[in-house]
Each structure stands twice: as structure tokens, then as C-alpha cells.
Amino acid sequence: MARLWGTLFVLVALLFTGCAESYHWSASHPAYKQAPYAEISLTGLQKAFVLTRTKWFANRLGYGDSTQIKATEFCSKAMEREFRGVYSKITVLPDSLLDSAPEESQKLDERIFMKGKLPEQGIVVKAPDGTTPPQILIIHEVIVGTDLKRENFFDYALIHNESEEKREVQNISAIVSYTLWDNLKQRALFSAVDEIQHPVKALSEQDLEQLMRQTVQQIRKNLYLGVSR
């Protein structure tokens, strides 16, 4: 009997891992023909960041009680720096531009939905300086934590699963969901959820910075790969 249960368990496990491999983590609009090359407008950097396992980070970073605020601020700055490094012209738009926009969910796969604010149909977002950016990269959410799996956050069948407490931290991770928005025609050109893992021994700010660097690289790579052919 025990053997039977064991076999069943393995089968079920195989089934689940089989499903996990078949996720689609991005969606492209048929009209997405060219990835942003030198110029990009960004929004969402102020409010998108969330730190999980704050205590673990607090013990290592020495930010004290305000770890959540300070660490997310640090990550936000690091990400912006990194974007400035890879794109020659960056416009960072304040998050308040999207305050009045309705929150919508975008379907990436059968069970994968990402949520975020998108401008309404027929409303063109204007930058504070009065210009109209043709495309905006909207960062919806950046979850920073340890050994995070994106399916636990975005697969609605797994969202309510309690994740097991891990003794040893292998990686610090970032899960980022973003949309490349066609501001002129108000449509989502490319939407994706990325997961970035950075192995860590003794945590320092450099590790967080490195994590953000990898995140930006991953976003940039996916923006290129996502172009509809």
C-alpha cells in the first residue's frame, strides 16, 4: 500500500512539474514589431517594489526598523541606475500618472494572470513636461525576497499554497511584472513576468544591486525576444 501511495505521489509530482514547465510567462501583441532600442520611458518605479522576509534582510543589511522602506528605495534607485546605464535616453515618469487608471489583469497563460494599472482606451498619457512618450515601460510589481518562485505568485491555482519554510537561503530573488505600453494606440505591446535568482552567501547591498542589474538585463532581453515575427 505504501508503495502504491509512493508511486501515486511521484506521478502527481511529475504531473505538476510537467505543468510548471509549460507556463507561458509573456504575451506579445501582433503589432509589437520593434523593441525599444535607445530610448525608453519608465513608470512604476516608486510604488512597485515589495520586500518579503523583511526580518531576514533586516538582520543582514543593518537598516533597522525601516528595512522595508530603505531596501525598496535602494532597489528602486539601483534599477533606475541600471536602466540609465543600458538606454541612452531615459524618461522616468511619476507613478501618479497612472493613479486614475483602472487596475486590470492580463492573461499570459491558462492559469497565469498579471495585475496592474493600465491607461484607459482612448487616453494618451502625457509626461509632466508636456511631451507624449510613444511607448512606456510600466513596471507593475517587483517582489524582492529569498528563493521566490513566480508561479507561487502568479498561478492562481498555487497562490494560496503555503510555501515551506526554508532553513538555508540559496538565492535572493526578484519577480518583476511589466508591460510595454503603446501610448499612442493604448494597447499592451508586450507583457511579462520574470524571475531572477542571485546566489548569495553573505548578503550585502552589492548583492541587491547585482540582483537589480540582472533584472534589468532580463527585461531588456525579453523585450527583444518578445517581438512578434
Binding site: H29, P30, P102, E104, E120, Q121, G122, I123, Q186, R187
Partner: protein, 428 residues
């Protein structure tokens, strides 16, 4: 037939395209099966200041192009043209409609806009946007918050010709009668035609006629050849006596009376009586049979089946029960033998002719279907294999050698029958 007419249609379309010599051909991006109502209410919705078509003339265009449309009503959709949310979506739609984009890319994302579309009831919203040399057309109905059809037509300065163009491209389809408010309400609350509760217990009686033979279909005939072709010599001699078919004819008509019942449409039972008549296979060339007028056996069988069933309802007035059964039976043979009138005293061989055992025990299994019309009148077809036998391994006794050989120790046949049944549900 359909394919041919489709082909013809495509051919005519091609010819029209060639001869019409339209530089900017009309282009339908997608077209789902939206319903065009008779006497349709058409609401013309456009973000342009000046509508490219005239509502009254468009109605006439519709009548000219589609004889089944009845008396359509067309008007500008002022409610939406004044609504800022709808105006925004209209502008967005005019901006975003492109060939190659599916309907879901053109969905109204704002929930209030989606609600507005779903509130148009059975009216048809005709969206028209001016694109310079062409007009973008989209059609909405209450069924979804994305366009049901979209495309473009060349722009024509004459509003009547423009209306004709749109009518022939998008409104050239079969029309359906519009339901009244009461009818629609009734349709919504009406139970499903095929909804039926399985009765707790259903019972039936039936009578069937069929046919039985030794050879089971799809098996080689040489398995049976020896038995089927054997003859009884001297009133009792055959090659072997294992099967009754060595002695009597195997292929005969079969008549059955039966009654059964089933619980929850799933498990049930059936009791039956079967009748058939078998001639003895006498060797006509043997002079010993000259005295004989006729010799045959009547086979009477009673038995009990257990059956498992599954019900399908392909039509409202028809139930189809597929079933498999397994049962046992007792077979009794009664002999009917008579000498010719001229013969006063039978021969010695006649006196020592073979006798059947009484009764034979057997099993049967098979499957079938009951097709019940209007809940009561059933037509049933079933087929299966039945056996009859005698335990030959009896205790040996000193008289064993003197006793006649047991015949028909293992006899199998195949049967098929068609029955008429009456079904009812006694306990509601």
C-alpha cells in the same frame, strides 16, 4: 452539396471582384456568427462629425440587399455619441482596427463600456470610422464586449452607394425572427429540453423474435463444421455426443417473452422464457428412417439475467439504453416424434433412440440496446452467446457402462433478436 454551393459562391465572388474593378477592395477582418434579426434595429455609431451614411437611406440599402430583413429601423446612436466613455472607446477603436487583429484585441476594456455594450439587447450597433480612403466597420451586439465582425469598405462620396456597400459586405446573411420580450423571458426560464430525471425504477415487458445458430460470428466455420454437418445414424449414432448440435439442427428461429426492471437506470434484472424448435438431423439415406413421419425437439428455456445499463437521450422523445447482461438458464427439450400411419409397429432402433437430458443448465451473456420512444414504446435489439450443458463428471457407478451416454454436455450457440417492449415506471 454544401461544398459545391460554397465553391460556386466563391467563384461568383471572384467574378464579381474581377468585374467590379474596385481599386480598394472591401476587406472583412473577422466575422463571427452574429445574428441578424428580421426588422432589425440598427444603431449607427461613429466618432466622425458627419456620419458617412444616411440612416434612412441605409435602411433602404439593407432592404435592397437582403430580402429577408423585413422592415429594419436605423438611427444614429446619439446616446453613445454623447457619452465620453463611449467616445473614448470609439476613438480607440478607430485607431486600433487593423487587418490581422482578432476580436479579443479590440475588446472594450473598461468595465462600464463593456456593460454598455451588453445592454444594447437585441439591437445591432454599426460602428463606422473614417480612415480617409476607406471606412472601418465594426459590428457589436449584446453577446460580447468585443466586435462580432470587423472590416473595411472603400469610401464612396455618394451616401446611398456607401450604404449599399456596407449592407452588401456585412448584412448579407440569413435573418432570424426576433423574439418578443415575453418569449425571451420564457426562453431564459425554460428548462433544458433534454433535462430528465432518471426514474428510481423502470420496468418493461417485451416479446421478441430472433435467430440462433451454432456458429458465433467472426469465428472460423471449421470450428463448427463437424457438428453442423453430422447426421444421426440408426436413431442414435453420431461421431460424438458432446454437443447437442450433433443431433439436432442448430440454426432456428427463436421467440422470447421477457420482463425486466432496472434501478436508477444502472443495474437491473430480467426474467425470460425462450422457445425454439429443432429438427433432428437424420441421415435421409438410412433406410431405417423410412418408417418415420417427423422427429423434432422443442427447446423451452427459462432464465434470469443481471444487466448493467447506461442511458443516453439523443432526442427529447427518445431514450437509448445500452446494456450488457449476464445470466443463467435451464433448457428443457420435449420430443415430438411420429411414425408414418402405414407403420403399425416401430423398429427396434426406434425404441432405443437417443434421449435428451432434462434439464440442461447453462449461462448466457451479451449486450444490446433498448430504444424507448415517448417514454413507453421500446424497440430492443440484443445479441449474445448462450450455453447449455450437463455435468459429465458424475460419480462412477457399476452400471455406468450400461447407461446411455450423456448427450449435449457442452452446447453453445449465438443468438440475435429484435423485440417490442412496453416500458413504465411503477413507483414515481
Amino acid at each position: 452539396m454544401k461544398r459545391h454551393s460554397l465553391g460556386l459562391f466563391a467563384f461568383v465572388l471572384l467574378l464579381q471582384l474581377l468585374f467590379a474593378n474596385t481599386l480598394c477592395a472591401k476587406d472583412v477582418y473577422f466575422d463571427s456568427k452574429w445574428t441578424l434579426w428580421q426588422n432589425a434595429d440598427i444603431l449607427i455609431w461613429t466618432p466622425e462629425k458627419e456620419p458617412p451614411i444616411d440612416p434612412k437611406e441605409f435602411c433602404l440599402s439593407l432592404k435592397r440587399n437582403n430580402s429577408g430583413i423585413g422592415n429594419p429601423k436605423c438611427r444614429l446612436f446619439g446616446e453613445w455619441e454623447r457619452d465620453s466613455l463611449a467616445v473614448r472607446y470609439a476613438n480607440w477603436l478607430a485607431n486600433n482596427m487593423e487587418p490581422g487583429l482578432d476580436a479579443h484585441y479590440l475588446k472594450a476594456r473598461h468595465s462600464s463600456m463593456a456593460a454598455k455594450i451588453q445592454a444594447v439587447e437585441d439591437k445591432i450597433v454599426l460602428f463606422i470610422a473614417d480612415k480617409g480612403s476607406s471606412l472601418q466597420i465594426a459590428i457589436f451586439d449584446e453577446k460580447s464586449s468585443e466586435p462580432r465582425a470587423a472590416g473595411s469598405v472603400p469610401k464612396i462620396a455618394d451616401k446611398i452607394a456607401q450604404g449599399d456597400e456596407i449592407a452588401s459586405t456585412f448584412f448579407d446573411r440569413h435573418t432570424k425572427r426576433r423574439l418578443s420580450k415575453e418569449e425571451r423571458l420564457k426562453m431564459e426560464t425554460e428548462p433544458d429540453d433534454l433535462y430528465k430525471e432518471t426514474p428510481n425504477f423502470r420496468t418493461w415487458v417485451g416479446v421478441s423474435a430472433g435467430y440462433a445458430q451454432a456458429q458465433i460470428p467472426l469465428t472460423p466455420s471449421n470450428w463448427y463444421k463437424r457438428r453442423v454437418r453430422s447426421h444421426v445414424g440408426n436413431y442414435r449414432v453420431t461421431r460424438d455426443s458432446v454437443s447437442l448440435w450433433n443431433f439436432i439442427d442448430d440454426s432456428t428461429p427463436l421467440f422470447t417473452l421477457y420482463a425486466g426492471g432496472i434501478w436508477f437506470g444502472f443495474i437491473g434484472g430480467e426474467i425470460f422464457y425462450r422457445y425454439s424448435n429443432h429438427d433432428v438431423k437424420i441421415d435421409e439415406k438410412d433406410p431405417v428412417y423410412e418408417e418415420l413421419d417427423h422427429w423434432d425437439f422443442t427447446q423451452n428455456e427459462i432464465g434470469l439475467n443481471v444487466m448493467l445499463s447506461r442511458t443516453y437521450s439523443p432526442l427529447k422523445w427518445m431514450d437509448l439504453h445500452l446494456f450488457a447482461f449476464l445470466g443463467f438458464q435451464y433448457s428443457f427439450y420435449s420430443e415430438d416424434i411420429e411414425l408414418k400411419d402405414s407403420k403399425k409397429k416401430p423398429s427396434k432402433e426406434y425404441e432405443t433412440r437417443f434421449k435428451t437430458e432434462d434439464p440442461y443448465k447453462g449461462a448466457l451473456f451479451g449486450f444490446g440496446t433498448q430504444c424507448v420512444l415517448l417514454e413507453h414504446y421500446g424497440l430492443s435489439v440484443r445479441t449474445g452467446i448462450s450455453s447449455r450443458g450437463k455435468d459429465i463428471y458424475t460419480e462412477p457407478s457399476p452400471e455406468a457402462a450400461a447407461e446411455p451416454t450423456t448427450i449435449g454436455a457442452s452446447t453453445v450457440d449465438w443468438f440475435i433478436s429484435v423485440g417490442l417492449e412496453y416500458h413504465w415506471t411503477p413507483f414515481r
